[in-house]
Amino acid sequence: MSTEPTDLRLYRPPIRRTWWLHRRSYLMFVLREVSCVFVAWAVVFLLLMINAVHAGDDGYQRFLAFSGRPWVLVLNIVALAFVLLHAITWFNLAPKAIVLTARGRRLAPRAVAAAHFGAWLVATVVVGWIVLGGR
């Protein structure tokens, strides 16, 4: 028989563009994914700072004035919230991505997450110490 059934592999159910507004978990997913935009902004902002430092003391003072402008400050506070969301969701997902076994038994997922949060704390202290060290 040659009656072809509809090829189900080619069928894509229509999805509304506002699908992510219909559930809290969808919204959180999209906010988490959108955090990448603020990671990119942070990179641009830090590169502007480094570029300003390389331009001399005047450049650095201009950068400090720039970072104090209301719109830059507000943008950075929003960006910080998103970057924190990124870090927290990333470390919480780590146990799902990294499955460690020791002596034939799986290491507790909580231990894997805790190790990541510990590493975050250490990295934060070290960066703070390097940046603020010159007082």
């Binding site: 990119a40 400050l73 970057v83 007082r135």
Partner: protein, 116 residues
């Protein structure tokens, strides 16, 4: 279904490495330079100190890695956000090229800024 390719695997690896590097280091850097120094809650470091920190070759390479991987992380995630939210199926290739291209250009800019 999208074709799975080895370039997708590389993109995912970079996404993953960038996600980790940025999660560890970006929050504290943004907190200091973007919020605490501008608000005056902490005095910003002296120019000479920052200059000496940034002239350390080891730290320069570390920062370049952080910036390049973070941008690769952005490119991969942003590409999928655009595909999921906008559903512009015909523009998928163009969106991919633009995202990874921007990340590559940003990484070159980072190298120029760090090693100038």
């Amino acid at each position: 279904m999208a074709r799975r390719s080895s370039s997708e695997a590389i993109a995912w690896l970079l996404f993953s490495a960038g996600g980790m590097a940025s999660a560890l280091l970006i929050p504290v850097l943004l907190l200091l330079f973007g919020v605490l120094f501008p608000l005056g809650w902490l005095a910003p470091p002296a120019y000479a100190h920052l200059l000496s920190v940034l002239s350390n070759p080891f730290l320069r390479i570390l920062l370049l890695l952080l910036f390049a991987l973070s941008l690769a992380h952005w490119a991969h995630r942003f590409r999928h956000v655009l595909n999921d939210l906008l559903q512009l199926d015909r523009l998928r290739t163009a969106i991919g090229v633009l995202c990874y291209g921007a990340a590559a250009a940003g990484s070159i800019w980072a190298a120029v800024v760090l090693f100038q």
